[in-house]
Structures are given as structure tokens and as C-alpha cells.
């Protein structure tokens, strides 16, 4: 909530500076993910990006989310992606054709998206301010929220995860069901 004594947008406070630096790292590494010519580098830059984002979460006092981010994204998903790169026998070195011919249209659309979104959020939230209070996103508070209020979606989600697992197995194994 906006408080009465709301500091101006500039100069940024300490946490904000940290956040912005982490944000720049995340954005830069994300840009490298989508532009690098090496597949494996892309995956590694993704690690950097996710890590920086985890830092951002920490600054925003969402500690638990930050750790989950590190554990699942950096720990699991990127590994999965690397396995994918490996299994599809992608070239490890530079490859010239990682971008499709659609690149310039994509760039235009991307820039336009950025323009629209940024202008919208800036115009919408340039006055929004909240002081950070540590402990808001601690494991305890979050855990009690998940297992009280959100327990049903949580359970549903676990079923979803299970079925996704089974689906992945079914899809990746050639000797199960499928084509005649």
C-alpha cells in the first residue's frame, strides 16, 4: 500500500539498487539466452538468469520462493534442458542457424510487446510503493498458507505433476502403445 511518506522514484533506495542490479543481470543473461549461437551456452545463461531472479525474489522478501526457484529451476529444469540438448544430438559448438527467418518479425513484435507492456505498467504503477518487511515470504508463513488455504489446489497439482510424469514417460518410450 502506498504510505503517506512515500519516497520518490529517484534516487532509488538500497534494496532497490540491489534489485535493479540483479534485474539487469537477469535481463542481460536472458537476452543472451535468446541470442547466443551456442545451445549449451544458452542453457548456462539461463542458469544465470534464474539465479539473478532468485536474488530478486530475495530482495522482495520472498525467501521461500527464491529457494524453490533455485532448487527447481536451476537444479532440475536446466538439467532437464541440458539432457534434452544432449539427447537431440545438438551441436555443442557454434551453430549458425539457431535463429529462424522469422527473426526480424520476432524482434519487431518483441520490441512492440516491451513497449506496450512497459508503457502500460509504468503509467499504471509509477506511484505504487510499499516498504519491504522481511519475513513475509518465509517458509513458515508460506507453508501454513499453502496447507490451510491452498491445500486443495496443492493436491490437484500433485496429481497433475504425476500425470505429467507418466505422460512424459509414455511419450518418450517407443515401446508403449501408440502407432500401429
Amino acid at each position: 500500500m502506498t504510505s503517506q511518506a512515500q519516497p520518490g522514484l529517484w534516487p532509488p533506495s538500497g534494496p532497490e539498487i540491489v534489485f535493479l542490479l540483479l534485474g539487469v543481470v537477469a535481463l542481460g543473461s536472458a537476452l543472451l539466452v535468446v541470442t547466443t549461437r551456442r545451445l549449451v551456452h544458452a542453457a548456462l545463461w539461463l542458469v544465470v538468469c534464474f539465479g539473478a531472479l532468485a536474488g530478486c525474489y530475495l530482495v522482495l522478501t520472498a525467501e521461500f520462493v527464491a529457494w524453490v526457484q533455485v532448487l527447481i529451476y536451476v537444479g532440475a529444469i536446466v538439467v532437464l534442458l541440458l539432457f534434452g540438448i544432449m539427447l537431440t544430438r545438438a551441436p555443442i559448438g557454434r551453430s549458425a542457424d539457431l535463429d529462424s527467418g522469422n527473426r526480424w518479425a520476432a524482434a519487431v513484435v518483441g520490441v512492440a510487446t516491451a513497449g506496450v507492456l512497459v508503457s502500460v505498467v509504468v503509467s499504471g504503477f509509477h506511484t505504487a510503493y510499499t516498504p519491504l518487511e522481511p519475513g513475509q515470504g518465509a517458509a513458515g508463513t508460506l507453508g501454513s498458507s499453502v496447507f490451510r488455504t491452498w491445500v486443495l489446489p496443492f493436491e490437484v497439482l500433485s496429481v497433475l505433476l504425476l500425470s505429467a510424469l507418466i505422460g512424459a514417460i509414455a511419450l518418450s518410450r517407443t515401446d508403449i502403445g501408440g502407432r500401429e
Binding site: M1, L9, P12, S13, P15, E16, F19, L20, G23, A26, L27, A30, V33, V34, L39, A42, L46, C49, F50, L53, Y57, V59, L60, T61, F64, V65, Y73, A76, I77, L81, G84, T88, D97, L98, S100, N102, A106, V109, G110, V111, A114, L117, V118, V121, V122, F125, A128, Y129, T130, G137, L142, S145, T149, L157, L160, A164, L165, A168, L171, T174
Partner: protein, 141 residues
């Protein structure tokens, strides 16, 4: 904390993800770009959760859910990519054109079905289906 900072970062991250999805040929890179977009959303959720001081912590909880779903999605996505790779020997998105209209020249004739070429049109349609299926079969073997 001014909300505008995380929100702008999130918007830019999302746009980068959009660019990646649209511009990258490799399916795994596309998946990575999707992850970027999901993370942009996560950042938004957390930022607004903090701003609105939600007592139920819906933003952060949803972020957790999104992360879980993203994991599932990557798992499934990779499985699909692998399946495609097995049948097509490639995971270049712009070369997977099974969705396209059949570009064979006979297609135009199936248009005047009211003139009596209906059966022909059927045959063509069947034929095109056949080529797709047989192409898949060849790749699989």
C-alpha cells in the same frame, strides 16, 4: 520498494521471452524462452504479492504452483521434443510443417467439387493424408 521496478523488469523479461519463442528455431531453445516468460510472470506475482500484502500469500503460492507446473511442462515438452526428434530427425520448429496446407498442385482442383470433381478431391485428400502417414512411417523405421 517501488513496484514499478520489478514490474518493468518482468515486462522486459517477458518481451525477451516472446522474442525467443518467435525467433529461435531449436525447439529446446523455444522451451527455454517459454521458461523466461513464466519467470517474468512469477516475478510479477511476487511483486504484487508484496505490494498488496496479501494475507493468504496468493501471489507467492501461485508462484510456487507455476514453478511446479513449469517443471511438469518442461518434462512433457522435452518428451514431445524427443518424440519429434525420433520421428523427424530434427527439432527445428520451422521445418515441422505438418500443419501446413498440402502444397501439391492437385489441391486446387478439389475446389470445384460441385462440378463433379468431388470424388477426385476426396482421393487427393486421402492421398495427402497418406503421404503424411507414410512419411512418418519412413522416419520411424
Amino acid at each position: 520498494m517501488h513496484i514499478v521496478y520489478p514490474v518493468v523488469v518482468s515486462a522486459l523479461l517477458f518481451s525477451i521471452g516472446v522474442y525467443g519463442v518467435l525467433a529461435r528455431r531449436n525447439a529446446i531453445l523455444v522451451l527455454m524462452s517459454v521458461e523466461l516468460m513464466l519467470n517474468a510472470v512469477n516475478l510479477n506475482l511476487v511483486a504484487f504479492d508484496v505490494w498488496l500484502r496479501d494475507r493468504l500469500h496468493s501471489g507467492q503460492v501461485l508462484t510456487l504452483f507455476v514453478i511446479v507446473i513449469a517443471a511438469a511442462e518442461v518434462g512433457l515438452g522435452l518428451a514431445i521434443v524427443l518424440a519429434v526428434f525420433r520421428t523427424r530427425r530434427t527439432i527445428d520448429v520451422d521445418r515441422l510443417r505438418a500443419l501446413s496446407e498440402n502444397a501439391a498442385g492437385t489441391d486446387d482442383e478439389s475446389g470445384d467439387g460441385d462440378g463433379g470433381g468431388d470424388r477426385e478431391g476426396d482421393r487427393n485428400g486421402g492421398g495427402s493424408r497418406g503421404t503424411v502417414a507414410s512419411g512418418g512411417g519412413e522416419a520411424a523405421t
